[in-house]
């Protein structure tokens, strides 16, 4: 489907897949009404007309959407009334994902999603391409992003790039972890409460179910989505970045380019800590949500390890942030007065290239931010902190979901840390610029 000037079209089935569940619903309705229409009523003609119109609209949206790789840019044009021409510089790409929802898998198509950086960072979506096209295109885009030229012979697109699988999450452990996670426990208590009410008085239970159906549905969706997204999640290391593959029904394959990680965080909820489990998430630059991205796709954080032991997490961290601080020092005792719940968790440490902070009230969150990625540093001191001679240093990165904060340190120590960190960050920037 390549026109002579290099413009290409998406897969012809894309409007149907993009319609998603609505398509299935309309299809069923149409089928039913056709069955009834046999008996002859003018209504079925109207319905047919509407279906025809929808199909024509879908076709038009397909025919006006085209894309091409233009030098170092990916260009996408779409729209009839409001013509849109988007240009995405490949050098700014932070991550490339291939996503295949259930319906797309049935039709054998896949969506390619490029996340670009910057405060106005947007996501380029090619929805949908034929499945077999998506993988080579991803490899080609990544190669271009790394600085290869367009017409240069891409080293055999069919060749599989060497991948070294680091870890795969066992399904049993994933289910267990979701059952004792915050969402899981909430869902379980809702279900338990329902069952208890149902046993005590079935009539009341019916009332509760019909009244709270939306909420129950929402909670179950949340649990399901988490399971679906993290099912058999495997992390692999390839030459062009970290590969994260996962999914039960909706498959996704993400590629995080090397050196694009803004921060890494490790979350240890209360119940997980007892089992020695933790979760690793990676933060990338770019907007938290972009227009046109649905709820399910709005994922600012990339989960690298949904659940795993501390030892496994350490091993993965070694790949992502190689030179990370080993020791973290606790805050002064008087911090207990200011943040009694956090006190046990608070700590921070730094190495030459990375800063680590730990915080959290019930769950423990440890954040590692490479100094090379530091955008700015802030020292904040509130009234209570001033009385206690404490101060907090915030380390701002271009990621939007992970906040590294060195909380409640001695003022003098905070001042020293601020000076040290800005000095080290400068050295890192210089090293990179050279």
């Amino acid at each position: 489907m390549t026109s002579p000037d290099g413009w290409r079209r998406l897969h012809p089935l894309s409007p149907i897949v993009r319609g998603g569940r609505a398509t299935i619903g309309v299809g069923i309705l149409l089928f039913l009404s056709l069955l009834q229409g046999r008996r002859g009523s003018s209504n079925s003609y109207i319905e047919l007309g509407i279906a025809g119109l929808v199909i024509v609209l879908g076709f038009v949206s397909w025919i006006v959407t085209r894309w091409r790789i233009d030098g170092d840019d990916l260009r996408i044009e779409s729209g009839v009334l409001r013509r849109q021409s988007l240009r995405f510089p490949l050098s700014q790409v932070q991550a490339i994902d291939i996503v295949r929802p259930g319906l797309a898998r049935i039709f054998g198509v896949a969506e390619l999603r490029l996340r670009t950086g910057g405060s106005s960072g947007d996501t380029a979506r090619l929805a949908y391409l034929a499945s077999h096209e998506a993988e080579p295109l991803r490899a080609r885009l990544l190669a271009l992003a790394e600085g290869a030229r367009e017409h240069e012979e891409t080293p055999d697109p069919e060749a599989v790039i060497e991948e070294h699988v680091l870890t795969t999450v066992p399904t049993g452990r994933l289910i267990g972890s979701i059952l004792i996670s915050d969402v899981g426990i909430f869902a379980e208590s809702v279900l338990a409460a329902l069952i208890v009410t149902a046993v005590l008085s079935p009539a009341a239970a019916m009332g509760v179910v019909s009244a709270g159906a939306v909420w129950i549905f929402a909670v179950l969706t949340l649990v399901w989505r988490r399971f679906n997204q993290e099912y058999r999640l495997s992390l692999a290391e390839a030459t062009d970045g970290l590969r994260v593959r996962s999914g039960l029904i909706a498959l996704s394959a993400e590629t995080i380019r090397p050196g694009r990680v803004q921060a890494v965080r490790m979350v240890e909820p209360l119940l997980w800590r007892a089992l020695g489990w933790c979760r690793l998430e990676v933060d990338l630059a770019g907007k938290q949500r972009s227009k046109g991205e649905g709820q399910a796709e709005r994922r600012p954080l990339r989960t690298v390890l949904p659940v795993g032991s501390r030892a496994l997490a350490e091993e993965l961290l070694e790949r992502i942030v190689p030179d990370r601080p080993r020791v973290q020092s606790p805050p002064p005792r008087r911090t207990l007065l200011k943040s009694p719940l956090r006190y046990r968790m608070l700590a921070w440490g730094r190495s030459e290239t990375c800063v680590a902070t730990t915080s959290g009230r019930i769950r423990r969150v440890t954040v590692w931010a490479p100094l090379e990625k530091v955008q700015s540093l802030r020292r904040v001191q509130g009234p209570l902190q001033r009385r206690l001679q404490l101060a907090t240093i915030h380390v701002d990165t271009a990621g939007h979901s992970v906040h590294a904060a060195i909380r409640d340190r001695d003022s003098a120590e905070a001042d020293r840390a601020l000076a040290d960190l800005s000095e080290l960050a400068r050295a890192e920037r210089r090293k990179k610029a050279r």
Partner: protein, 133 residues
């Protein structure tokens, strides 16, 4: 604002003929005014910025004191704004944006010429030291 309200109240009460009450209101206005004056002046004096070799320091706040260190190389763009009130006094606000949304480098109440100079200087330094994401 409170001071103004108290002053008006004093005027109204005095006009109604209650001299003692009017005086009390006037006293209240004076106390409030002094307090506000002190509050504003402390806030004003807490604001400060310094251009260092590689980064800009911005300091502000009395209750919550904040000090931001923003490297020039991290600057994405600068904007200079002047609201109607600021314009009438020939002032402007300079703000530096980085890729991190939390970065907070705003310098309000600069002289128009100083704002322009700062903007140009920051842009120049940012250009020279620009670092990728």
């Amino acid at each position: 604002m409170l001071t103004l309200a108290a002053l008006i109240a004093a005027g109204v009460v005095a006009a109604l003929g209650h001299t003692a009450l009017g005086l009390a209101c006037l006293g209240g206005a004076l106390v409030l005014g002094l307090a506000a004056e002190r509050f504003v002046s402390r806030r004003f004096h807490a604001w400060g910025y310094a251009e260092r070799e590689d980064d800009l320091l911005v300091r502000r706040g009395v209750m919550f004191s904040r000090l931001s260190v923003v490297p020039y190389g991290r600057m994405q763009f600068i904007d200079v704004t002047a609201g109607p009130l600021e314009r009438s006094f020939g002032l402007a606000t300079v703000r530096m944006h980085t890729a991190a949304a939390a970065s907070d480098a705003r310098i309000p109440g600069l002289d128009r010429a100083e704002a322009a100079r700062l903007r140009d200087r920051l842009a120049e330094l940012g250009e020279a030291q620009a670092a990728g994401l």
